[in-house]
């Protein structure tokens, strides 16, 4: 790739100044004028109930109330991968907090007051609050129709790679079958089985969801949303509201900066309410703003999982067979969450070479809030069990746990569980570097007998989970001074996307990144992007930006050739100018012609405004495979891999865990901006620590979330930061990535839970199988241990 001038450099964030001055605008910072109306939502107090009657009279009569809306006006379903979610509940509610009706009023206060006056009569049904209850007692998981959370499941439209089971609460059953399990277990020297569980978690972006909708008098519907997915939102709004005569052309989604996403603002959740409500009050914008409690309950939650793992190994540590049965508590609606289940099912071997594999990844409806995407997309959940279990196996075989991983680590060209081949990767290099940095094998001992020190290790991997035709686009337009606006539709959700897209264009066009500004999406103006999810945007949109820049470069050279009769092959770009390999003195600044063209002696001009165009879609990807075996497709474009380790100190009396050191090595392919990669590592590690040490969703026996605020659901503060974090970047280029890059955003959170679990085991000799591993639980486990 030669010498890179801008790519690979830790340039300052493009959005840095806006964000440190408070100039950056988020949806709730925008002004919508005097006509703005406010909506309050009437929510179900029951996890499972029939709606018998809704009386809106009292609410309607309150002064300042403009409109009361119930599900009668919007009997429509929507969803990303499966159409199972309702704009408003229809005849039935399926989780505590589900939207039943809405009040639109002149002020938020009046709206909330009126919402309390809406009378809803329910027939309360017994809620199904666990996977166990939802699956019933029969081997084929069939349940009575009145125990089905979605009795109409078989009628729901869904993507072709989902396999719902009729007459059950199973929305999707992903199967992987590879090799011969029976023979493999027979040939194994040992078979180890265990069970692990991971509860639900909340994203806790600091910005709550907010959406403002406006249907103007010309019947244009505009939405301003805090979203990771402007184009996908437009598409889902158009699908859901097509009975009202709205089409893609009529719908416009504008997405300014987002105050944190982590998957929670992907797809469409509460935004559908703003879209629907706006159509009932033409001419006035309507704001739907979630409070923190609604943020916890009615967007998406990370799904819980129960894992049964069975592993056959040889005495030398070689894994011959893996069975992973994953039962996911996917909640009341799974239009997005079922694809988490699917992704986990495809990759539940972890980054290991295993010849015989059986995986069942089962998406189970429950009467808990809807599950959905959360940074890690299922991988954090199944890896907790797998990486914990591998340590237990290594211990029983008397093999060092890292050596056990080295024996089985996947390599380039190895066959994946669905038959495709593993991409180039630096997994062994990551293991080696992390081992060295953490001084693996060296036992630390505290001088305080009450403090125990332990070390933990974990590998990780993740592939983008996306439809095979998910694509990215870029328009690159020059300005008079040869500065550039990049029109793209990925979201700058904090990861540094704008900055690296700027660096890519800068490199191709040899223009400093400071002269490039990305434009936050507006679906009327910025070209198509699927969504900012799956850690795929650096790779996918990066390719689109690179192609757009190359397109612009080709146009620039062509016009110089045409106007000045230079050979294209002699020309190149450097220092914001066109230069020639054969004429030293030739130096034509871009600003002289990228808008107004090159003037000729006769007074005419050649060229005109330069506008580059680039697109990327992975044409090699396919989600089609045998439903009984999972074999045959290429559902994942590539995996990003790495290794991580930690040192922890545990207070034996209180169970409190402190983290003196964490190390994480990730193969970024090419780190386009190393400082931003490090930012993902420090952020992801703490978010991972949050899930393993602190956070825990608690529901009461009726399915109501008890800790829907930051007082009771404690996310880490500055006092919980590890003393030392060592980020390690490894670069084995991704051949189809921009300058070799692949995504790393979600990955940094994935190994944290198992490596902490493994460190606790190392320190205290106790294996904890059920997350979270809070101080209280560690302490109780200590007290109740048998030895």
């Amino acid at each position: 790739m030669g010498n890179l001038k801008y790519v690979g450099k830790s340039v300052v964030r493009q959005d840095g100044l806006e964000k440190i001055t408070g100039a950056a605008q988020y949806v709730d910072d925008l002004d919508f004028g005097q006509h703005l109306l406010y909506a309050a939502i009437v929510e179900s107090p029951h996890a499972n109930a029939e709606i018998l009657k809704i009386n809106i009279k009292k609410a309607q009569g309150l002064e300042g109330v403009v409109r009361v809306v119930t599900g009668d006006e919007f009997p429509y379903r929507f969803g990303l991968y499966m159409h199972d979610r309702y704009i408003f509940a229809q005849q039935r509610v399926r989780f505590v907090g589900e939207q039943v009706a809405a009040v639109i009023a002149r002020t938020p206060e009046i709206a909330y007051q009126a919402a309390k006056l809406v009378e809803v009569k329910y027939k309360v049904l017994k809620p199904v609050l666990s996977v166990h209850d939802a699956l019933g007692v029969h081997q084929d998981f069939e349940v009575e129709k009145n125990n089905m959370i979605h009795p109409d499941l078989s009628e729901y439209k869904h993507v072709p790679w989902f396999f719902p089971k009729d007459k059950t609460n199973i929305a999707h059953f992903r199967k992987i079958r590879k090799g011969n399990m029976e023979e493999a277990f027979k040939s194994a020297d040992h078979v180890f089985e265990d069970e692990y569980s991971v509860p639900r978690y909340a994203h806790c972006a600091i910005e709550n969801h907010v959406a403002v909708g406006l249907l103007d008098h010309s019947k244009r519907l505009t939405l301003w949303t805090a979203s990771q997915s402007p184009h996908t939102q437009r598409h889902l709004f158009a699908e859901a509201l097509s009975p009202l005569g709205l089409t893609h052309k009529d719908i416009r989604v504008i997405t300014p900066y987002v105050g944190g996403g982590f998957g929670g603002k992907a797809g469409v959740s509460m935004e559908i309410l703003a879209a629907a409500l706006a159509t009932t009050v033409p001419g006035s914008p309507v704001k739907v703003l979630w409070n923190r409690s609604q943020e916890f309950v009615n967007t998406y939650q990370r799904q819980g999982v129960n894992a049964k793992i069975k592993v056959g190994v040889k005495n030398n540590g070689e894994i011959v067979a893996l069975e992973q049965l994953l039962y996911w508590d996917a909640g009341a609606y799974v239009e997005y969450g079922a694809n988490v289940v699917n992704a986990a099912g495809l990759s539940a071997t972890g980054p290991y070479r295993i010849p015989n594999v059986k995986i069942d990844s089962v998406c189970v409806y429950t009467n808990l809030p809807p599950g959905g995407p959360y940074r890690g997309f299922g991988y954090s959940e199944f890896l907790f069990g797998l990486e914990s279990h591998f340590n237990e196996i290594a211990k029983k075989l008397n093999i060092d746990p890292v050596e056990f991983r080295e024996i089985n680590a996947i390599k380039e060209g190895d066959e994946l569980s669905y038959g495709a081949k593993m991409n180039p990767n630096g997994l062994m290099e990551a293991i080696e570097k992390v081992k060295k940095e953490i001084e693996w094998g060296k036992k630390d001992k505290s001088s305080d007998p009450n403090i125990k020190i332990g070390k933990g290790f974990s590998l990780f991997w993740k592939a983008p989970a996306m439809p095979p035709n998910a694509s990215s686009t870029c328009f690159l337009k020059f300005n008079e001074d040869a500065s550039i606006n990049l029109l793209i539709s990925g979201m700058e959700i904090g990861q540094g996307y704008f900055t690296v897209m700027g660096q890519i264009a800068a490199e191709v066009l040899q223009i400093p990144p400071e002269k490039i500004r990305c434009v936050t999406p507006d679906t009327d103006r910025n070209p198509y992007e699927w969504q900012t999810v799956a850690s795929h945007i650096t790779w996918s949109c990066g390719n689109a930006v690179k192609r757009a820049a190359e397109d612009a470069r080709d146009q620039i050279l062509e016009v110089v050739h045409r106007a000045l009769n230079k050979k294209i092959e002699d020309l190149y770009l450097e220092d914001e100018a066109v230069k020639s390999k054969t004429e030293r003195d030739f130096n034509l600044p871009l600003k002289d012609f990228v808008i107004n063209g090159i003037g000729l002696k006769d007074g005419t001009f050649r060229g005109g405004p330069i506008v580059g165009r680039g697109m990327y879609m992975p044409e090699f990807s396919s989600a089609l495979s045998n439903p009984e075996t999972g074999q045959g497709g290429k559902p994942n474009v590539h995996y990003t891999v790495g290794a991580a380790a930690c040192i922890i100190k545990i207070d034996k009396e209180t169970g409190k865990v402190q983290v003196p050191k964490m190390v994480l090595a990730v193969d970024a392919g090419k780190a386009l901006n190393p400082d931003l990669v490090k930012g993902q590592i420090t952020g992801g590690l703490l978010q991972g620590l949050a899930t393993v040490l602190y956070e825990d969703m608690r529901f009461d026996k009726n399915g109501k979330l008890l800790n829907s605020n930051f007082t009771d659901y404690k996310i880490p503060t500055t006092l919980d930061v590890p003393d030392e974090i060592v980020p390690i970047i490894i670069e084995n280029p991704q051949s189809d990535g921009p300058f070799g890059a692949r995504g790393i955003g979600e990955h940094t959170m994935i190994p944290v839970a198992p490596m902490i679990g493994n460190a606790i085991e190392d320190a205290l000799g106790i294996r904890m199988r059920h997350m979270p591993l809070t101080a209280e639980k560690i302490c109780m486990t200590q007290l109740t241990r048998r030895d």
């Binding site: 900066y257 605020n709 500055t718």
Partner: protein, 154 residues
């Protein structure tokens, strides 16, 4: 019901009509157009609405508008009269924030800390910032920028 209050907002005398129930955060955002303080929780947990009253930090979601009658209120917008603060410069150089939603609260809070204690220790910085939540960064780059601003001691 409305009451007029007189407040020095970012160095300028302002007369504002408020209801007794109006929250200071809403008054600042909706009546004065000062959008740097933001609402993340509405109950004093997250610190993204932090502003200064007479130089002392408060969570503006926990203060009523009428309480600031006759007081001085300063938001991030009012701290930049002489250009960027040093701590802002360090945060810019260090790519300290990601989504940026919590940034105004952190900057106001670190400004108060450094005004009161120009040479805090690392532990003192962590303690002072513990009431401001950030979900993106893992805090490390924010803390490092504050440490660099004051040439911090261990």
């Amino acid at each position: 019901m409305n009451q007029e209050i007189k407040v020095m907002v970012n160095g300028e005398k302002r007369k504002i009509e408020v209801k007794p129930t109006d929250i200071l955060l809403d008054v600042l955002r909706n009546k004065l157009g000062l959008k740097s303080p933001k609402c993340g929780c509405g109950r004093g947990d997250c610190g993204t609405c932090t502003v200064l009253i007479n130089g002392k930090s408060v969570k503006s979601c926990l203060v009523l508008g009428i309480e600031v009658d006759g007081q001085e209120v300063t938001t991030l917008e009012g701290l930049m009269d002489n250009g960027l603060l040093r701590v802002q410069e360090k945060m810019l150089e260090g790519n300290s924030f990601q989504c940026g939603f919590c940034a105004p609260g952190f900057i106001v809070m670190s400004h108060e800390l450094l005004e009161e204690n120009p040479g805090p220790t690392k532990e003192e910085i962590k303690e002072a910032m513990a009431g401001n939540l950030c979900r993106c960064t893992g805090y490390t780059p924010i803390l490092e920028a504050i440490e660099k601003t004051c040439g911090c001691k261990e």
